[in-house]
């Protein structure tokens, strides 16, 4: 009997060639990182960076204690913020529904022309943050709640549209076929075959987006689009850090409550 000697003594997960390739990949990533880091920090003033802990302590010291007397003044802007989010969500959903039906492969009237347009609308709306929409709209229609509402609505189209068109594409074909077999018209197929199937998804998506919009509308005031962000901006500009602390705590509370409400509603629907 000959002794088996050609087996490797140590087991390893990958072949040497694969390991070499992986090392090269990691090396490339590190090199890219270092290169980007150097370009990015070219203009950084390191004195400010090393100074940061002192600045942080300074700001922290000014934030405490929070000026609670400021709270009543914030109630009106908070109501505005909730209105921006809610009305914006309603507007966005109304605009998103037709876009979603145009973008879904099984309901679109024309795959070659309308579907790409609808998909482009969705991508454009998704890739531009609501703060940027607000920046543009404040310049166009002036500062105020309306700019915020439209900004939230435009941003919501992409999110709601994308999730809704995926839901439409996942509908059960047999139910639609059953409705078709009764001799229903196109509109009736839509109303009785597709709409009941996507209804829970629709409400779930809308409430989810509302929750995100509450979050986003709290900061829209930074560019002048109304709500509690206006107060935040004013307090930051006057370096009233104890007011900033109150506003941030209020925003945090609002966000937590809206998240809880949205989770409850979605749980009840789905």
């Amino acid at each position: 009997m000959t002794e088996i000697s050609h087996y490797a003594q140590v087991w390893s997960h990958r072949t040497p060639r694969k390991r070499l390739l992986m090392w090269l990949g990691w090396l490339a990533l590190v090199a890219l990182f270092v290169w980007c880091w150097q370009i990015m920090t070219e203009t950084t003033i390191w004195m400010f960076v090393t100074d940061a802990p002192r600045q942080a302590a300074d700001i922290g010291g000014r934030m405490l204690p929070p000026r609670w007397g400021y709270l009543p003044e914030l109630m009106n802007p908070l109501w505005d913020t909730i209105n921006i989010a809610t009305l914006g969500t309603i507007g966005g959903v109304i605009m998103a529904v037709p876009v979603a039906f145009l973008a879904a492969r099984n309901t679109t009237p024309s795959v070659t022309i309308l579907r790409p347009i609808a998909l482009f609308i969705i991508v454009a709306s998704r890739s531009i943050n609501s703060l940027i929409w607000a920046l543009l709209l404040v310049a166009v229609i002036g500062p105020g709640l309306l700019a915020g509402i439209i900004a939230i609505a435009l941003r919501s189209i992409g999110f709601v549209g994308k999730l809704l068109y995926e839901a439409i594409e996942e509908t059960d074909k047999r139910q639609i076929e059953a409705i078709t077999a009764t001799g229903a018209s196109q509109a009736q197929i839509l109303s009785y075959g597709i709409v009941p199937q996507i209804m829970p998804a629709f409400w779930g998506i809308s409430v989810f987006r509302w929750d995100i919009n509450i979050r986003e509308s709290t900061i829209l005031g930074l560019v002048g689009a109304g709500g509690i962000g206006l107060k935040l901006n004013a307090s930051l500009a006057t370096l009233a850090w104890n007011q900033v602390a109150v506003i941030l705590l209020l925003i945090l509370g609002t966000v937590i409550i809206s998240e809880w409400v949205s989770a409850r509603v979605r749980h009840a629907i789905i």
């Binding site: 203009t43 003033i45 960076v49 009305l87 940027i132 920046l135 166009v140 229609i141």
Partner: protein, 267 residues
């Protein structure tokens, strides 16, 4: 003898079966809408004035001007892109240990609580607000933006990674443990192979999000293309602003398709 069958059919309500609740909710919605719309003050004269500007903006979008501000745009883009990459790499590197620490099946309870609270803090603070503070501390420029995005990345990646680790196949971990492996070996041989594809996918997705966010945090002074965009809009140079927005949309589209292709390739 035949029973009278109804000859019309009404679709039953889908969401709220109780009729009273339905009516109450509908009334509530109408009242809220009246109240809410009542508080929205619109200065229609200002809106009318703005329409002309809106038209110029749409024209700027249709005929974007890439050339006259190209130097600023390219500098902003370079800042944004480098910021995106470095912050994703650093953020992921930090979130891997935190994510492992936040997985209930791998660590003792105290460590779990600490890591989960780090994640909760990072997730509940918005990027813009974090950016405001970091700009105040570290000064204007992309370095503050880099820190903001890294911080936001930690909450996102660590949470999803931890949830993923908690859902791994426990039998594989048990098999490795039965060989007498140490904790580090357990992580390396039982956990890593199971979560690695998803971690890579998540990192690519986060790269995409970080680029989008880098376009926003510039508005509060954290560098990148957002600062350039803000300047362009402040100067009413809508053709340059249109060019910047088109570039952002194009990069987001490319990275979305690229990352979905890469994820498919890796799995």
């Amino acid at each position: 003898m035949s029973a009278v069958y109804p000859d019309t059919w009404r679709r039953p309500p889908q969401i709220i079966p109780n009729r009273r609740w339905r009516i109450a909710i509908q009334c509530g919605i109408v009242i809220y809408l009246i109240l809410a719309i009542g508080t929205v003050e619109v200065n229609w004269a200002r809106v009318y004035e703005g329409l002309e500007r809106g038209q110029r903006f749409v024209m700027g979008f249709l005929q974007p001007d890439f050339s006259s501000r190209w130097k600023d745009i390219s500098q902003g883009l370079v800042e944004s892109l480098t910021m995106t990459l470095t912050s994703t790499v650093v953020g992921v590197a930090i979130s891997v240990p935190i994510g492992i620490g936040a997985a209930r099946n791998l660590v003792p309870r105290p460590i779990y609580m600490v890591c989960r609270s780090i994640i909760a803090v990072s997730r509940s603070l918005q990027e813009i607000i974090v950016a405001i503070f970091l700009v105040a501390m570290f000064g204007f420029g992309p370095f503050a933006g880099f820190l903001t995005l890294s911080f936001a990345t930690i909450g996102f990646i660590a949470k999803l990674l931890a949830d993923d680790i908690e859902e791994i196949d426990a039998t594989q971990a048990e098999a490795i443990r039965a060989t007498g492996a140490s904790w580090l070996q357990l992580v390396d041989y039982a956990v890593k192979p199971q979560v690695m594809p998803r971690l890579i996918g998540l990192s690519l997705y986060r790269l995409d999000i970080n680029f989008r966010e880098s376009a926003v945090i510039g508005i509060v002074g954290a560098g990148g293309i957002g600062a350039t965009l803000n300047t362009a809009i402040d100067r009413y140079e809508y053709d340059s602003a249109g060019a910047i927005l088109l570039i952002i949309i194009a990069i987001v589209m490319v990275s979305e398709y690229g990352s979905s292709y890469l994820r498919k390739f890796l799995q």
